[in-house]
Amino acid sequence: MSTPSNTVPGTDLKSRVTAPAVITASRRMYWSVRRELWEHRSIYIAPLAAGAVFLLAFLTGLTLSPAHWHKGLDTPYEFAAALIMGTGFIVGIFYSLDSLYGERRDRSILFWKSLPVSDLTTVLSKFAIPVVILPLFTFVIAVVTQFVMLLLSSAVPMGGGLGAGTVGSRMSFVHMSLMVLYHMLTVHGLWYAPIYGWLLLVSAWAPRAPFIWAFLPPFVIWGVERIAFGTSHFLGMLRYRLTGPEPLTTTARSGNMMEMISALTPMQFFSTPGLWVGLAVAAAFLGAAVRLRRNREPI
């Protein structure tokens, strides 16, 4: 704290360190993402909390009435993963809606723009949070939670039916983890990209209340289409975006995302036109968000 600073004016000029003149684009991106994590700690706290709460409930159920657990929840591991991923999804939505709106509201956009970071880098770093960072975090937290569950259920002697045997009967632990990772990267990272792109666009544009601006237009389009043409293509499109491509929905059982995705090979997934259309739409939304960020002033 008490760094002696004997900077004599005048000698400054000669002793000034010429900083490394080049800062790579990836370095700027890294620090931009890090600063998002500093600001929005809910990105990792919320999924962690979801995991912790689930483990607490799981432990309580396990010690009080293992039989009840066995009946009530036939797939506790998948339920844990779904709960944590769901939390991550919700955090991603609220994060995206706030990211480019919040910096305008608190005027800090003037501070960020005073640094040599382009609008493109900024928008991409904010986009990376819901499509890369959150899926990876939720994946790690989900797998750790499942692992602790595994340890807990084998440690509690009464846990009989929920031990490693249960997992083993369905799939191995490693297999299950890989499934979660695959699901996170494909569905949350790629398939949902246009959803996050839309939210970022609204966040960059909205003069106020980004939440309403994000959800009202789809509602209005649905209503207008229904009244004017009596069709619901738009709603079908949204549902398709939320639930996933066709082969999934037909083979899937009881709407369990994990089951659905395991029914789809990477080959099938990457040859779905809907994926590429979605990515193109996401790119268009992001491009518009970059332009808007350049133009927009603090609110």
């Binding site: 600063r35 600001e39 005073s114």
Partner: protein
């Protein structure tokens, strides 16, 4: 090369013209004060210079077009918009880390040196700091950047006089050298009078006065005239006249000191006095310019 060069710079918000065809040239190594009433267009000019707003006309800052090359421009230029823009959630060490991470000309050790002279702790959040400390922090960050151009828009707004004084002192002593350029606006004109090398007045989107401080000091003189000499003094054609405690104070442009000494007590006018004179002359129509 001029640091800032604008020709016919114009910006309108709907029917309101904020900047009305400004021509501007700021050479390297100057400290320019841009003085103007509220709503004169100062902030709009700054925003155009910093690439924060699109504009009409020609504008080059450090040889770049600020609107299309803002991120590259910010390697050589930095600005303090006003004290309220540092993100309130940020911790001091995070600001240092981030600057070191993204800014090629940021000298972290230097920033830490500046901060060590203050009571700011590295673990503090911006929201926990007082207004004066936030200004100190921002200044420490900016002064640690080896930039060519520093733009300050009301940097000391809302600070008490001690912090204001300190702010400009450290700017002059620890930062400014002849290779840098500083452009500053403030309403506390008196406090920066001795800091500036050049001064410009802006009113209703136009530059209405522009001169160097050397020229200002050699050209303008103020005389406190007694009632009996008033007629004689008025004959020398003052550019402005005001009353203080029943005595008249006349402002002259380009009259020799000896000539004025006979009329009363001669002294150097403040920028604020000249500013009032220039603006009142402007509004009382066709006074035939200021130069």
């Amino acid at each position: 090369m001029a640091c800032i060069e604008a020709r016919g710079l114009r910006k309108a918000f709907g029917a309101t013209i904020a900047v009305d065809g400004i021509n501007l040239r700021v050479e390297e190594g100057r400290i320019l004060g841009l003085i103007g009433p509220n709503g004169a267009g100062k902030t709009t000019v700054f925003n155009a210079i910093l690439g924060l707003t699109p504009y009409q006309g020609e504008l080059k800052v450090l040889g770049r077009d600020p609107w299309t090359e803002r991120d590259q421009l910010m390697r050589d230029a930095c600005f303090i918009a006003d004290v309220a823009v540092l993100p309130r959630w940020m911790r001091v060490w995070q600001a240092l880390d981030y600057f070191a991470g993204v800014h090629p000309r940021f000298d972290r050790a230097k920033a830490e040196g500046f901060l060590a002279k203050t009571t700011i702790r590295l673990a503090s959040k911006v929201r926990e700091l007082s207004k004066g400390m936030v200004a100190q922090l921002h200044l420490a960050l900016v002064m640690a950047i080896d930039a060519k151009l520093l733009v300050l828009d009301e940097p000391t707004l809302g600070l008490d006089i001690l912090y204001r004084k300190q702010f400009y002192d450290s700017l002059l002593n620890d930062y400014f050298d002849r290779s840098r350029t500083i452009v500053v606006t403030t309403h506390q004109v008196e406090e920066i009078q001795d800091v500036l090398t050049d001064v410009m007045f802006i009113n209703r989107g136009r530059i209405v006065f522009d001169c160097s401080m050397d020229e200002f000091e050699s050209r303008y003189l103020e005389v406190m005239v007694n009632a009996e000499q008033l007629a004689a003094a008025r004959a020398v054609k003052p550019i402005y006249e005001r009353q203080v405690f029943g005595r008249s104070i006349l402002l002259f442009d380009g009259i020799e000191r000896q000539e004025l000494a006979a009329l009363g007590e001669v002294r150097r006018p403040s920028i604020a006095d000249l500013f009032v004179a220039v603006l009142s002359n402007q509004s009382s129509a066709a006074q035939g310019g200021t130069r």
